[in-house]
Amino acid sequence: MEKEKNHSRPVEESDVKDNSRRDFLKKSALMTAVALTPVAAAKAAELHIDERIAGAFEKMPLNVEINGVAHNLMVEPRSTLLDILREQLDLTGTKKGCDLGQCGACTVHVDGHRVNSCLTLGIMVNGKKVTTIEGLAKGNQLHPMQEAFLKHDGFQCGYCTPGQIMSAVACVREGHANSEHEIREYMSGNICRCGAYPNIVNAIQEVKEGGMAI
């Protein structure tokens, strides 16, 4: 039990020497299976039980505020913020496009700054504030950028739209929406395969020119 307790907290420098923990966990998990029956052991190996047990031990606490709500989660270090949002919290507004930081569909705000959540390890946003597309509207009142995208038809299929809108809000807040050229440059990290770009630019320009604090 002591072992389990130790490893459910963030690994600090004092743990540096504990390099073979994973191997130990995997081996002990398999040895447990072997102690049962050969069939059980074979089944365990086939189902990667060793990996799963090791994985469960390796979850770490993640304290993060998402759309104003504090969450205390247990996550694998390898889980991206995108996967945690979608798979653990059912916040599926944030989309998985390329999953490689090339398309922008997964754009969210971390402490107010837009980032690609697919390349962000969830464990690294510990203590931070995340805003997703679900956090923009106030109750039934859409965010001005959401209204503008509707008005200007800033999408066709809509898959890239949550990322476009999160990026667009950041673009205006950063002060990078002063001309069509600047908007296009600062929205270049969000790809739209339907090619709704002119309408997206129009939506952003309307919000910018509206001068509203967003």
Partner: protein, 326 residues
């Protein structure tokens, strides 16, 4: 992605301890590292997160400007001191990646990013950089994005950074720390050519970490330009890029700095062309001759011969923009 251990470092000493163990990698912005892990190019046993170390600052020094290794690319590109003293660096940073990625990427991470050669990324293809001794897929492959300078029989990949091209032109120095203490590496000597060891991108030892970059003050601010030529207007890697910085007196070039991206395994500083321009007058002819000198020794492969024309044309254009001739 394979599972790994995660360690949040709170001291520099803790980082050095951690990276002295094999299989441990530093993570900062993670934009390149996480991408590599997803592609299965590397599978570290442990990541040590350095983002909580106090190395984010952009501070004036007696002789120039210091960038902490954790300063974000977006922050550096819009920093008032950077814009005033080293606008070339700001231009280069803004030409790189996307706003989202620049909000994650750090100075040190940008330096450590690896080639975007498609054969490096494709684990079904041979690649001496990814797996030494397997061969080079690009050599006889679709090598449109590849090097025209300094390549070897083992590797013709290029370094993808824009920021590094500007820092190479601006005579920056890299500050690294290891267990034996600090050392300073001229920026142009930080990255290396592939030679017989393309798996090594730079001269940082395995047990060292970058802590910052120093840029000496200069008189280039008024006449600097970063030109990036790519397949689309934004958010693409350079086919060719040029960092040009001039110190002008009347119509005469007192000092010149010139470096290229997208053409070599490292940011490619053009010392000979710089020397040629010094003392010459600001004319298109001077720039054309400089570009001709710059291209000496260039060698193309099947699909990148266009770079032998694009590179000199880009040098001339960047110099014209920098000098106000354009």
């Amino acid at each position: 992605m394979k599972q790994f251990q995660y360690q949040r470092a709170s001291t520099q000493q803790g980082v050095l301890e951690a990276i002295s163990k094999p299989g441990t990698k530093i993570i900062a912005g993670g934009t390149n590292l996480v991408d590599h892990m997803k592609h299965g190019l590397i599978a570290p046993d442990k990541l040590v997160d350095i983002t909580h170390l106090p190395l984010k600052g952009i501070t004036p020094t007696k002789t120039g400007l210091h960038l902490g290794t954790l300063a974000l690319n977006s922050v550096v590109s819009e920093d008032a001191l950077v814009l005033q003293k080293q606008p070339l660096l700001s231009m280069a940073l803004k030409a790189g990646a996307s706003p989202q990625l620049r909000n994650m990427a750090t100075v040190g991470g940008n330096m450590m990013q690896r080639t975007r050669c498609t054969y490096f990324y494709d684990t079904t293809m041979p690649c001496n950089k990814r797996e030494p001794g397997t061969g080079c897929g690009a050599m006889e492959g679709y090598n449109r994005m590849h090097a025209i300078f300094g390549a070897s029989a083992q590797c013709i990949a290029v370094h993808p950074s824009d920021m590094c091209v500007a820092l190479a032109a601006l005579d920056a120095t890299v500050i690294v720390v290891g267990k034996k203490g600090q050392r300073h590496i001229p920026f142009t000597e930080f990255h290396r050519l592939p030679d017989d060891h393309p798996e090594l991108d730079n001269h940082l030892a395995k047990d060292e970490m970058i802590i910052g970059v120093d840029i000496p003050d200069n008189n280039f601010a008024k006449n600097s330009y970063y030109l990036k030529v790519r397949d689309r207007q934004s958010y693409a890697f350079a086919l060719v890029s040029v960092a040009a910085a001039l110190d002008l007196s009347g119509g005469t070039i007192k000092k010149a700095r010139l470096a290229m991206g997208g053409v070599a395994h490292k940011p490619w500083r053009l010392f000979e062309a710089e020397k040629f321009m010094e003392g010459k007058s600001v004319t298109e002819e001077t720039f054309k001759q400089a570009a001709q000198i710059a291209l000496q020794g260039a060698k193309a492969y099947e699909y990148n011969a266009f770079k032998l024309k694009l590179a000199p044309a880009s040098i001339v254009e960047a110099l014209k923009q920098a000098s106000g001739l354009a």
